[in-house]
Point group: C2
Chain length 345, copies 2
């Protein structure tokens, strides 16, 4: 057995705002050997999600904070290169909490899921057939429940979750208005993801633009950002509106969450605002993936990725989420997909 | 037919904060004569609700603002003294938007409802078998849905809606914690209304008290107040909590609504916050009243009233809501109940 070198990004100091030099360190050592019941996975793509930044703060969340000296936590995809576990064979493609590292040990547990077939499109898995797609699906179909002719607004519409959520609303027959930052992203939201319109929140005319594009109010709002954008959309709710709370990216760097004063509109409009976490719907992921698969295969659902290269890019990619560097899912490629499959042949 | 004098409180100037001298005027004139299809009602009790204050601001709401020169709008109860309307006979007791006035014309419409039987307890109607009771019922049973053993928190717990809402949660088997202002009200919440505990928000230990009384978090919060109390309770939510938005009394005087920064806990706790208005459930009032009647008759549901006397007290009573003058439903008695019934005999 060759010795495999495993480069990892570990946390050295809790960041304040964007991750700065010295907050993290890339270290390299031997990849661990799997014990009985374990398998070793070579990471192909690590997913860059805003949630990963929240885990660097010393605050309780749905997962515990990353501790100093630990590898930065992230969901990714990879290929089994050694197995002492009945659940996985060498060459299997699995999604798991890879973290920012080139190799990770897995076992047959809730966070590790084999992906059917070695020829799977790993980019599609990261964009659609994983927590990102499931989040868009459960939030939009379970809470938003758009009906034909209703008006749906999605923030961070060019992002991984927002782009899928908006397309699901289009499939339901709704008029879908995105909110994104800058003309390039707004064009992608309309041209690539097929939204009916997209509002550039950097234009400083957000409230007026919402009125223009949502003349009968907002029936469903899928919120990824919180802050002033959430407040503005709450001010434009239609009667019996549904607000899907998916994320609060505006606060993840600082841990501060200004409260939305227009929450009182929930009362005036008999509306509802609901938080959710796709991980609580784990037992329904098959349902979500089946629906998403049908839509993707029929061409109703497209996915895009922004891919950076190599372990040294992981922190830049995560910081980049907060300056809006990505269209579609932000990923870092740590190894070439298919090398595990080749190894098995 | 005797000429009846009708004293009314009309709006002269939009108040800023509490209603001040000169904002309103008591005027007196002849009571109107009913036309065909109308009846004349002598007001017995006018209900004093915080919503009445919101209608004095020049802001759109679920009912339009009261215009300058108009009678101040309020829901009340009275007795038919003349009728040219098939729906009502002289002596009938009806609930309607009496306003702050001694006589009001009614017709057979959605805001006027005959109360079965002339011997009805009019105080009970105002506290339980009207919009107040229906609001508590629909909010607690439809949105809160407390289960046995869950922890329910109710703000403005000594007030008309809160006191009923909390008792409904007790009937469902929940542990119910009230929030009220001052030791006298807190005693009433526990001793009169049977809550398990009551937190005095004036004690400045609200957050610590919530932790003490809700060690496993808050499963249901019935919010009548908004502001810092809503924010504090949002910070204590349990997993899958339900927040019932019933009112925002903290903002009604100023029209300002500070946003609750802890709304992000809706996301962390997979919780829901929902506004409602009992008037939208008009077709289910019979169901509500039947349930409330059974509970009241079996002694599981008590009601209390704070009654002031005479047309000149109406404005003081409304202002008094904001200093917490009332335990139970705040009412002003404008005439003796039963005189209409006596007139018919």
């Amino acid at each position: 057995m060759n010795t495999r070198r495993n480069a990892q990004v570990v946390l050295r100091r809790r960041p304040s705002g964007l991750i700065a030099a010295g907050d993290t360190e890339v270290v390299s050592g031997d990849a661990p050997a799997p014990a009985d019941g374990e398998a070793l996975v070579r990471t192909t793509y690590v997913g860059i999600d805003a949630a990963a930044r929240t885990w660097l703060n010393d605050q309780p969340g749905y997962l515990p904070p990353v501790q100093l000296g630990e590898v930065i936590r992230a969901a990714g995809i990879g290929e089994v290169v050694e197995s002492r576990c009945a659940a996985y064979r060498v060459g299997d493609v699995v999604t798991t909490l890879t973290g920012f590292q080139e190799y990770v040990l897995v076992r047959d547990d809730v966070f590790t899921t084999p992906v059917p077939g070695p020829d799977v499109d790993q980019l599609a898995v990261m964009s659609v057939y994983g927590p990102t797609g499931a989040t868009a699906y459960f939030g939009m179909t379970g809470i938003g429940r758009p009906k034909a002719g209703e008006t749906v607004v999605v923030s961070a519409a060019a992002g991984a979750t927002g782009s899928v959520a908006g397309q699901i609303a289009k499939i339901a027959g709704a008029r879908v208005v995105g909110i994104a930052g800058g003309p390039r992203k707004c064009r992608a939201v309309v041209d690539d993801f097929g939204f009916d319109a997209c509002i550039d929140y950097k234009s400083d005319t957000l409230t007026a633009d919402l009125k223009t594009h949502c003349p009968r109010g907002v029936d469903v709002y899928f919120d990824n950002v919180g802050g002033p954008i959430l407040d503005a959309v709450l001010g434009r709710l239609a009667h019996r509106a549904r607000v899907v709370l998916c994320g609060v990216i505006s606060s993840y760097l600082t841990g501060e969450h200004p409260g939305p004063a227009n929450y009182v509109n929930l009362l005036a409009k008999t509306a509802v605002m609901q938080g959710f976490n796709a991980l609580h719907e784990w037992d329904r992921f098959d349902e979500a993936f089946a629906a998403l698969h049908d839509w993707e295969k029929s061409g109703q659902l497209v996915h895009r990725e922004t891919v950076m290269e190599g372990i040294d890019s992981c922190v830049d990619a995560l910081n980049g989420l907060f300056s809006g560097a990505n269209i579609g899912k932000m990923l870092v490629r740590l190894s070439e997909p298919g090398s595990g499959q080749a190894a098995r042949r």
